[in-house]
């Protein structure tokens, strides 16, 4: 059963159907065959018995009118149809068939006849079942044996058996076909539901199951549709909320930014404590600005609203520009590679990786390595910082994930930078992975499909 449970529903249904049908058909066929078999044989035995008694009466008559003339009896019996016969005396035997000898008569029957009784027994004679009736006749040690062939009964039974086998096979085949048909009928709407669920999981939230039957599967599909609608609505509400919140934050943040910058230009005129306060505000405002921008970007990525602009990008130059803008002196290894990608997103990813190497990797031994492999190219940013603990590594790309170590640090945590990098990598059909050896350093590798085609663009 455990093997069966592992099969598909369709296979299971078919196997159960066929097995049930086969068992039922076998039982029915056997019952039919056996009862017909018994019926035919009993009938034959009754009719043979009757005929045997007639024949015995006739034999007694013949021997009564011609005492001792066994030969005459034998030749008279020859003219009667429906059976073969044999008359035995103590020394001689006459039979209506050449192949018939007293050796054919079984010992059991001979015993009954010797005790002056009428009896019968089934024997196999020349390959066919034969009923042998035996009875003593009036002259001393003279016996009459009659042979009734059961060949016609057997032929009829084998015909019946063949018919039953053919019918049984047909029933089983029909059951299999029926099971497959029913399974398909039941499962087709089910597979539509599961395909729809898969599409929803992929993010196509407006997927619905259409044209469903009004049965249990239809109810399932309807529930699925309801769930998808509710889910979509909930998600949209949430996204609208995040979008609205970030949007509402932007204008006051812009005002805050401008105000603090005015403060910064007059920094020299401030008292030392006011200057420190101004510096703190400035730092917080720029941090908050970055956070809001990242929140907005990630909510746009979640909403899959953002488009990709494919254009030729020279990776080395891009990395160089990212580093130059940050005024960082970081070595770049590897060849010059041009591929088609989204420059702004690549810039974001590499920038976030470099920032991460300096903020969390300590900035020691930071280097960028560009490589090309079969159909792929990669940009790897490595550092020789404290590394990432094994427990933290699988979560490093989660939003606002905080490692134990960074928790103790001032407002530590990876924030959204790496999550954004990963999402952006996905959007440009690449992958982003991290490897790390604690106390030795970490490497973040961005892999991109290597391609030279330029996407059609709006002229």
């Amino acid at each position: 059963m455990s093997i069966l449970r592992r099969q598909s529903l369709r296979t299971r249904l078919t196997i159960s159907f066929v097995a049930t049908a086969a068992v039922l058909v076998t039982i029915l066929s056997l019952a039919t065959f056996l009862s017909v078999h018994t019926l035919l044989e009993n009938q034959r035995i009754r009719s043979s018995t009757r005929q045997t008694i007639f024949t015995l009466v006739f034999a007694r008559d013949v021997l009564g009118s011609h005492p001792g003339d066994v030969q005459r009896l034998a030749s008279l019996l020859q003219s009667r149809g429906g059976f073969e016969s044999m008359v035995t005396t103590s020394s001689l035997w006459y039979s209506t068939e050449l192949s018939l000898t007293p050796a054919e008569i079984p010992a059991g029957l001979r015993g009954i006849v010797e005790r002056e009784g009428l009896g019968y027994q089934e024997i196999r004679m020349g390959g066919t079942r034969t009923l042998v009736f035996g009875s003593p006749l009036p002259p001393e040690s003279t016996d009459l044996y009659l042979f009734y062939s059961l060949e016609d009964v057997d032929r009829m039974l084998s015909l019946l058996g063949g018919a039953l086998i053919v019918i049984g096979a047909a029933v089983v085949a029909t059951a299999a076909a029926l099971a497959l048909w029913i399974a398909r009928r039941i499962l087709r709407p089910l597979s539509r539901v599961s395909a729809a669920a898969r599409r929803v999981a992929e993010g196509l939230l407006d997927t619905r199951v259409e044209a469903v039957p009004h049965d249990e599967v239809g109810a399932l599909a309807a529930s699925f549709n309801e769930m998808a609608s509710a889910f979509q609505e909930m998600l949209q509400r949430e996204r609208r909320f995040v979008g609205a919140v970030s949007h509402e934050l932007r204008t006051p943040l812009a005002a805050l930014q401008a105000t603090t910058e005015v403060l910064a230009t007059h920094r020299g005129e401030l008292s030392p404590s006011a200057r420190e306060a101004a510096d703190l505000v400035l730092e917080d405002v720029s941090g908050m600005r970055r956070l809001v921008e990242e929140l907005l970007e990630i909510s746009a990525l979640d909403a899959r609203e953002s488009s990709v602009r494919w254009e030729p990008v020279e990776l080395r130059a891009l990395v160089r520009a990212v580093l130059d803008r940050r005024r960082l002196d970081v070595p770049i290894e590897g060849p010059e590679i041009t591929t088609s990608s989204d420059k702004a997103r690549l810039d974001r990813i590499v920038g976030n990786l470099v920032d991460n190497a300096f903020e969390h990797g300590g900035g020691r031994g930071v280097r960028v390595r560009i490589e090309r492999a079969d159909g792929w190219c990669s940009v790897a940013v490595s550092d020789e910082g404290p590394g990432i603990e094994v427990d933290d590594l699988p979560h490093i790309f989660e939003r606002f994930y905080k490692t134990d170590r960074s928790r103790t640090r001032d407002r530590g945590g990876v924030g959204l930078g790496l999550a954004l990098a990963k999402e952006n990598a996905r959007v440009i059909e690449g992958t982003l992975e991290a490897t790390s050896v604690p106390a030795e350093g970490s490497t973040f590798t961005l892999r991109l499909p290597l391609r030279d085609r330029a996407e059609p663009e709006t002229p």
Binding site: H247, R250, T251, P252, L253, A254, A255, L256, Q257, A258, T259, E261, V262, T265, R289, V292, E297, A300, E305, S306, R309, E311, P312, A321, R325, K343, A344, D347, A454, P456, E457, T458, P459
Partner: protein, 240 residues
């Protein structure tokens, strides 16, 4: 002593900027920051008074918020374009939506996403107001086929007819026509015309080319003067 860049040309009249923003704090803060950079700022919260200020004060550049009470930023932008070709920068809270394209199509020259640094805003303003740009050296008259440009006079003629171009459109056309046959990438154009040293929004170029074509091409569906080179950028063909 190292040469120094002057943030503000003291010897000429101050540059006047029209700032239209309905959020009082952001408007004041931006005005303060711009005044700190030496600009003269005319502030207003709505489109009607903005149009009045436009005629009264004749500003050199306008900064518009998109979300305004009454006439919104896009409509205001179109109204201003009917009267003036001054550079327009608009402020948007959404950068990844159609807002940007609609804003540019209604006649704006550049945009900034809130929140922005004053540094960025000033860089945008300077780039848009700079008359001579770091483009290849040009003659006093550029003639490419049906196109005739007088860079010093800021005049452009197509088939002998003068065309009315905004400053940015003119710069874009002059830049492309200064090297007939050469393909300019969007990036290069962003650098030369808009003054982005890195990663500007290439939609700026696309929308401006579209606007430029609407004004100079005989058949917009089959542009002959400014052509698209798929996958690279734009060019003014040497022999059109």
């Amino acid at each position: 002593m190292k040469p120094r860049v002057c943030a503000y040309p003291w010897n000429v009249a101050p540059i006047r900027i029209l700032l239209v923003e309905d959020d009082r704090r952001l408007r004041r803060a931006t005005a303060l920051a711009l005044e700190g950079e030496g600009y003269e700022v005319g502030e207003t919260a709505d489109a009607e008074s903005a149009l009045r200020l436009l005629t009264e004060r004749s500003p050199d550049l306008a900064i518009l918020d998109i979300m305004l009470p009454g006439l919104d930023g896009f409509e205001l932008c179109r109204e201003i374009r009917k009267r003036s070709d001054l550079p327009i920068v608009f402020l948007t809270a959404k950068s990844d939506t159609t807002d940007v394209v609609v804003g540019l199509e209604s006649g704006a020259d550049d945009y900034l996403t809130k929140p922005f640094e004053t540094r960025e805003l000033v860089a945008r303003i300077r780039a848009l107001l700079r008359r001579t740009r770091s483009t290849p050296p040009t003659e006093s008259l550029i003639r490419v086929g049906e196109l005739e440009i007088e860079p010093d006079a800021g005049l452009a003629r197509v088939r002998g007819e003068p065309v009315q171009l905004t400053r940015t459109e003119f710069e874009l056309l002059r830049c492309l026509a200064s090297r007939p046959g050469m393909v300019f990438t969007r990036e290069k154009l962003l650098e030369l015309v808009w003054g982005y040293d890195y990663l500007g929004d290439s939609r700026l170029v696309d929308v401006h080319v579209k606007r430029l074509r609407a004004k100079i091409e005989a058949d917009r569906a089959e542009p002959r003067l400014v052509q698209t080179v798929r996958g690279f950028g734009y060019k003014v063909p040497a022999v059109p």
